[in-house]
């Protein structure tokens, strides 16, 4: 059999393929066109979007520019305000300094007033005053302020004046302005309790202090009271006064401190013992062993107060040199025994307390008040080859005037500045390179000390000084100064910053050496002083009492049932 027309069939197949290919091409073209169209559409959308975003970017850029402008303006305003605040802070700080200064001036005025009142009281006890008073009383009765007798009296008096001249009035009339009223103990305590009642807190402290609360004098009881106040702990500050005419303004109630005279408090021990009874931790700090504390110590002990005898001086020695006339060794033995805890400002006093029968006495040194080292207003002094300075109490009982005078004579090129109060160089001639600056406000001390190369504590090498832990040592160190001492000891841990001398040669050598100490030691001195703040001291005190050290545990056990 022959094959059927193969060439035609192949041609048909090729045409079919060709046609299919054409269709595929057409289809592809169509598809491409559709895709192209869609792409063009998307491109259009994307272009729109890009245009929109571009617009948004433009808007944002505009906004950013606006914000930048505003920021610049705010920055300028901020800088302005910052400057303004700085100015205000400076003014505030000045105002505080002024307040402190005024307070110190007020304290001085109060002292003067008390002195006048004291003198007036002694005048009032004289026979001549009493006779004059009796005369005036009689005259007031015989010649009343109104009436015919008075008119007749005036006529006679005028006639007498014409003959013998006008007398100078030297005696106050008996109906002159009365002396200021005595402090109202009950009222003050009640108002104080009411004031602190809602302030919360669990602690309250009573301080029996040897002086009034005077920041300018910076005594330990004052510093403790102020530190407690900074912590929001209410303080009853019982202050010593020699005369009933002396009294303190109630000017620290807003700081949580009420000030009451000791002589009134000890007359009514229940008043104080019952105060702030809702506070579980009540501490009473006795800062001196006054026998008049016998009853109030016993009352506070019975009412759950933790009683602390804070030994800050060698009172027996003060008594021996004619001060602390109230001192009684038997009573000091009693308070050492009857208090729940005894703290002493240094090891020397701690040993003395042990001699008087105390056991496990803890040393709690003096401290540093915040800000004392800040110079408020520079105050320049003439400098010497070495400039030496001292500030503080100048009592002859312990201040070694002779040493200062001898040292100044030995080194005429040096300058010595003494800032202080409470004594004078009686019988000691001071050379011209010793300058007495008198009592200065505490806020001024740093400015004065900034002129010194070396600060000194020139105390006599006797028992009285050995028992002291001068607060000024910490203050000098906080001001960055090297310190040279005689009579007293460096505070524990501060031996490398405080040189101790025993005589004139040693003193001069120590000062020369201290003056050459490198500047790098300034920071170390300041750091040491900062670690001795009153805040730290109080932390140590509370840590000891709260852990029941010494006999506080017994007191806590005694109160456990009642709580």
């Amino acid at each position: 059999m022959l094959p059927a027309e193969p060439s035609n069939r192949a041609g048909d197949l090729a045409e079919e393929d060709l046609a299919r290919l054409r269709w595929e091409l057409v289809e592809r073209e169509l598809r491409h066109r559709v895709e192209q169209y869609e792409l063009q559409r998307e491109l259009g959308v994307a272009s729109d979007e890009i245009a929109r975003q571009a617009q948004a970017v433009l808007t944002l850029q505009q906004e950013m520019r606006t914000l930048e402008e505003r920021t610049r303006a705010s920055g300028l305003e901020l800088t302005g305000r910052e400057n303004e605040w700085k100015e205000r802070a400076d003014k505030l700080s000045e105002a505080w300094a002024t307040v402190q200064l005024l307070r110190e001036q007020r304290d001085v005025a109060v002292e003067q007033r008390n002195d006048v009142a004291r003198r007036l009281a002694s005048i009032e006890t004289t026979l001549s005053y009493r006779l004059a008073s009796a005369f005036w009383r009689l005259m007031t009765r015989l010649v009343p302020a109104t009436g015919r007798r008075r008119a007749a009296y005036r006529l006679v008096r005028r006639a007498a004046e014409r003959v013998v001249g006008s007398p100078t009035r030297t005696v106050a009339a008996p109906d002159a302005e009365p002396a200021p009223a005595a402090p109202d103990l009950l009222g003050d305590l009640l108002r104080f309790e009411e004031r602190v009642h809602g302030t919360g807190g669990t602690t309250a402290v009573v301080i029996f202090a040897t002086t009034a609360l005077r920041e300018s004098e910076g005594q330990r009881p004052t510093q403790i009271a102020l530190e407690l106040s900074r912590r929001g702990i209410p303080v009853v500050f019982c202050y010593w006064r020699w005369w009933p005419h002396e009294w303190c303004e109630q000017d620290r109630l807003d700081q949580g401190i009420v000030q009451v005279p000791i002589d009134l408090v000890v007359q009514r021990p229940e008043l104080l013992a019952g105060l702030l009874a809702n506070r579980p931790e009540r501490l009473a700090l006795f800062e001196f062993p006054y026998p008049g504390f016998f009853e109030i110590l016993a009352t506070l002990n019975a009412q759950g107060w933790i009683t602390v005898y804070d030994v800050l001086d060698d009172w027996q020695e003060f008594h021996r040199v004619g001060q602390a006339v109230w001192y009684d060794e038997d009573f000091e033995r009693h308070i050492i025994h009857a208090a729940d805890a005894v703290f002493a400002v240094n090891a020397v006093l701690g040993e003395r307390v042990e001699e008087l029968g105390g056991r496990s006495v803890a040393v709690l040194g003096n401290g540093l008040a915040p800000g004392i080292e800040r110079v408020q207003q520079p105050h320049s002094l003439a400098r010497g080859e070495v400039t030496v300075g001292y500030f503080g109490y100048l009592a002859g009982a312990w201040f070694d005037w002779s040493l200062v005078a001898e040292a100044a004579r030995s080194r005429p090129g040096w300058m010595f500045y003494l800032v202080g109060y409470g004594g004078a160089a009686d019988g000691v001639e001071l050379p011209p390179n010793v300058t007495l600056l008198g009592k200065q406000p505490q806020s001024e001390l740093a400015a004065l000390a900034a002129n010194w190369d070396v600060a000194v504590v020139p105390f006599k090498g006797e028992r009285l000084a050995a028992g002291a832990d001068p607060i000024k040592t910490y203050e000098y160190l906080a001001m960055g100064l090297p310190v040279v001492v005689t009579g007293v000891f460096p505070p524990p841990g501060g031996e490398s910053f405080v040189r101790r001398a025993d005589d004139l040669e040693g003193f001069l050598a120590a000062v020369e050496h201290a003056a050459r100490e490198p500047r790098e030691k300034v920071d170390a001195r300041r750091s040491f002083a900062a670690a001795c703040s009153w805040g730290r001291r109080l932390d140590d005190l509370f840590a000891a009492t709260r852990s029941g050290e010494q006999r506080v545990g017994q007191k806590l056990a005694l109160g456990a049932d009642a709580r």
Binding site: P269, E270, A273, P291, F294, E295, L297, A298, T299, N301, A302, Q303, G304, D330, F331, R333, H334, I336, H337, A338, L356, G357, R359, Q554, A557, L558, G559, A560, D561, A562
Partner: protein, 353 residues
């Protein structure tokens, strides 16, 4: 049965505390009791939640009010007797006589006009004192004083021994309680045992008291070892006694006159070794060498000697303290003492007038 107790002063004192215990405790014996005071001196808080049973008023008002009761018991409060004579019908009268101050007992010499059913006293010693004064054949009966609840609770774990033994004296600082005798004893004791600490818990009776105590402590050279707790609240006394016991110390009484000797009894209840005068009422409940020590009341150095023996002999001291506690609780625990009182009141009420 309804009983009205009458006492002059509503303070936070010992008598008021006992009255509160009576008001609460006598109900268990079917006796409903109330208290009447003449003067409120700040003791209201002791009768918290029992205000209904406490009244304040004059003696005349009290006498009128007493008509609502079966028995009226006066506690050292003779002021109520004159108005009570005018009341009719009158409740049975019982006179409780606790005062150790002899000048306060003079009214007993004319008690016959009030015809009390009995005079109740806390000790045989007090009974003798009353008998010497009373002008009627009225029976004088001894009814034990109840200790307060805080003193009888378990002793608990011993506190760590303290550094120094505490020799304590508790009471009013008056001549009868003889606080000077304690200082004299303390002086003699410090010569023998210099390590001891002396403690006085008590309040003076007048403004001069503190100065007198200070002067006497200086004169006897005991000031340096004396701790004075002036006006220790009564709720802190058990804790003080626990401290004394923990210190290895002793409680001393130098009293020259007590109707019962509550402070010694309280010390015994807290397991303390006690030293007391060897005379009434102390010798009624302190057995020498067994539940404490008694000293010759005319010889204060003997007191120091007895204290020293107890301080130095720990075994004796601890044993005395524990036996003292058992002995005192056996008669003066509140439920036991109140049971005695309830029985006595019922008996007197049932007697014909």
């Amino acid at each position: 049965m309804r009983v009205l107790f009458v006492y002059k002063y509503l303070t936070l004192g010992g008598v008021e505390t006992v009255l509160r215990a009576r008001l609460d405790g006598l109900a268990a014996w079917g006796i409903h009791s109330s208290a009447w005071f003449f003067h409120d001196l700040g003791g209201r808080s002791l009768f918290q939640h029992r205000d209904d049973a406490v009244r304040i008023g004059t003696a005349a008002e009290c006498a009128r009010h007493s008509r609502n009761f079966d028995v009226l018991a006066t506690i050292d409060t003779e002021e109520v007797l004159p108005p009570l004579r005018r009341v009719s019908p009158r409740p049975a009268l019982v006179v409780e006589c606790h005062s150790p101050y002899l000048e306060n007992l003079e009214y007993l010499r004319s008690l016959s006009q009030d015809s009390p059913r009995a005079v109740l006293v806390p000790s045989h010693h007090q009974r003798e004192i009353v008998r010497q004064r009373i002008d009627t054949p009225t029976p004088v009966r001894v009814v034990p004083n109840p200790l307060r609840a805080a003193f009888i609770r378990p002793l608990g774990e011993e506190l760590p021994l303290l550094e120094r033994p505490i020799v304590a004296w508790i009471g009013r600082l008056d001549e009868l309680k003889n606080w000077r005798g304690f200082l004299e004893m303390g002086a003699a004791l410090l010569d023998r045992c210099p390590e001891v600490e002396l403690a006085i818990a008590g309040k003076p009776v007048d403004d001069r008291g503190a100065d007198e105590l200070l002067a006497a402590a200086k004169a006897t050279k005991t000031l340096g070892r004396l701790r004075w707790l002036r006006g220790l609240p009564h709720d802190r006394v058990p804790a003080l006694l626990d401290l004394v016991r923990a210190s290895g110390g002793v409680v001393v009484s130098t009293s020259r006159g007590d109707s019962f000797g509550m402070t010694v009894a309280e010390a015994m209840a807290r397991g303390c070794a006690v030293v007391a005068p060897g005379e009434g009422p102390f010798n009624e409940f302190v057995r020498h060498g067994d539940t404490g020590s008694l000293y010759d009341p005319t010889d204060i150095v003997d007191a120091a000697r007895q204290v020293e023996i107890l301080l130095r002999d720990q075994e004796l001291r601890v044993a005395c303290g524990l036996r003292a506690r058992d002995a005192i609780l056996a008669r003066h625990a509140p439920d036991i003492a109140l049971g005695h009182l309830a029985g006595e009141l019922r008996r007197l009420d049932s007697q014909p007038a």
